[in-house]
Amino acid sequence: MKNNLNTNPLLLLIITLLSCNSTNKVTSYNSSNHLIDKNLSTVNYSELDLSDYRLEMSNQMNEIINVSAIEMETGSPEGVLGNFICDLSLFTCISILDIPSDFCILNNGGFRTSLPKGRVSKGKIFEIMPFDNELVVLELNGEQMIDLINYIKEKSLINHSRKAGVPVSGIRISIVGNEISRVFIGIEEFDTTKTYKVVTTDYLAKGGDNMTFFKNAKKISSTGLLLRDAIINYIENLSNQNIKLNAQLDGRIRVSE
């Protein structure tokens, strides 16, 4: 073999040069990410004409459906936006859909932006709740309820992450230090021997956002109503009664030392 190679130096040289060709290496690099700000043109330089899509969009989305008296944001252990949406979800199930329900639990990760003060367009509600999640009602036993309450406790004790806090309605939890102090469902103290009917979304009911306590829960009702549509309907109804949007923090989840 060695002998063979010795007789063909030219061949080896060619092979060497060819292999050099395939070993281009990075010798240096620059990295600097660009900000996309208003100095850049919004005139679309691609060949795609977006005008038909935009027209259809604005027809559907720019409609002003009400006015909000305040800006609503998510928060931990409580946020105004979460209180507002959970309250209207529970109200919708009990009073509009006629489904007996005790309380409501949703997730802050599902609210994708805040509700601005002032005019509220239909498109803004799509931005807050872009997901096609359906309202459902489940029944939880005492054990599952304890898991749910502990889940709320854990998330309420953090307040730095955008996923902190759990939006609820119809349930009041007092946390002292790291322990659950008192829990009320409606106006009655939580009873581990009872079952409770909880309003949530199909996404969370299937264990989304690690709500594992829902996995074996009995499903009472699929409402067929998207959470987003429930929000839009509620806001439009208030508008028909000349009522601006409003909500407040009321200590439904209370954390103290």
Binding site: N24, V26, S28, S32, N33, I36, E47, F126, F131, K206
Partner: protein, 318 residues
């Protein structure tokens, strides 16, 4: 990057050549090499988590007033393409969901615009599954670029053969290898939406395709499009940092999912202590990630970390 490997290879070759030929051959080889020295610049542009933000954020938006927008990214990419010969445009997933464009048109506008912008490849993020596998399949005809998904096994689903495991892009005489690593869907996406999609270990899969692209396909640079997320408080959770530390043969990880804004790519060490770059471009088409790589066959091999940046504001936060 790859300096040691190159030197070893050269030394090895010189040893053989020196072992049986006269010095004359060696010097003529050097002469030939000098003549062939040429630097090639390749510009990698990338986005992630654009979340259907075709247009800029609203002027009244609290956090990003009148910022971002895919149409603006399109004009910036267009400007860069005029200046640079070799541009590669990539996305790291979560193209879908976030504005009514997606609710009304189901992804058609996003894919059509990205096709018009001449994206070279994307991978899938968890929100791209929001309308199920069918929701992806129905939109694929609008995408003129491939989806590179290396660790989602779609073979038992309707997406079988609709995505690819890796892609090689040739620019000049440079081969660029690209593969894609997705996030674990269980617990993040409803099972009804991903059905029989099998999730393969991200690190094992990444090592497999990175080796294939580097060693067998002889790519000069290997890029991983990742939707794992940059980093987590839970140290063990699969992330780009962990991916970097548990693999070799990857040169650049283009990340997503955690909506991480970086001023520039960050340097980490891989499994065998070699440098690896990680970059991510925020979300909502608020940033365009950029790396310019210079490739050369020159003898002097020096990694030049030019961290120059014209930023006035610290923008590195999640």
């Amino acid at each position: 990057m790859g300096e040691l490997e190159y030197q070893n290879r050269r030394n090895f070759i010189f040893k053989i050549v020196g072992g049986f030929t006269a010095l004359l051959t060696l010097s003529s080889f050097r002469l030939l090499k000098q003549k062939k020295t040429k630097t090639t610049k390749i510009t990698i542009l990338h986005t992630n988590d654009m979340h259907s933000h075709i247009d800029p954020f609203d002027v009244n938006d609290k956090n990003h007033p009148n910022k971002g927008g895919m149409v603006r990214v399109a004009s910036l990419v267009n400007e860069i393409r005029k200046k640079e010969e070799y541009v590669i445009l990539l996305d790291a997933g979560d193209i879908f969901q976030g504005t009514p464009y997606f609710n009304i048109f189901k992804g058609e506008v996003e894919y059509k615009l990205m096709s018009a912008m001449q994206y070279d490849a994307s991978t899938l993020g968890n929100h791209d599954f929001d309308n199920g596998l069918e929701g992806i399949k129905n939109m694929l005809p609008y995408a003129k670029f491939p989806f590179v998904c290396s660790n989602y096994d779609f073979s038992a689903t309707i997406l079988n053969n609709q995505t690819i495991k890796y892609k090689i892009i040739k620019k000049g005489n440079i081969k660029v290898g690209i593969f894609g690593i997705g996030i674990k869907l269980e617990g993040l996406v409803t099972k009804d939406l991903y059905h029989q999609t099998k999730y393969l270990d991200p690190y094992v899969t990444a090592n497999h395709y990175a080796k294939l692209l580097k060693e067998k396909e002889k790519c000069s640079i290997v890029i991983c499009l990742s939707h794992l997320g940059y980093n987590y408080e839970e140290a063990e959770k699969a992330s780009d940092i962990n991916l970097a530390e548990k693999t070799k043969n990857i040169d650049l990880i283009i990340g997503g999912h955690t909506h991480t804004f970086l001023e520039q790519a960050v340097v980490h060490k891989n499994l065998i202590g070699k440098e690896i770059l990680i970059n991510q471009a925020g979300w909502g088409a608020l940033n365009l990630g950029r790396l310019d790589f210079y490739f050369t066959k020159k003898n002097s091999q020096r990694i030049d970390l030019d961290a120059s940046t014209n930023y006035t504001k610290n923008y590195a936060k999640i």
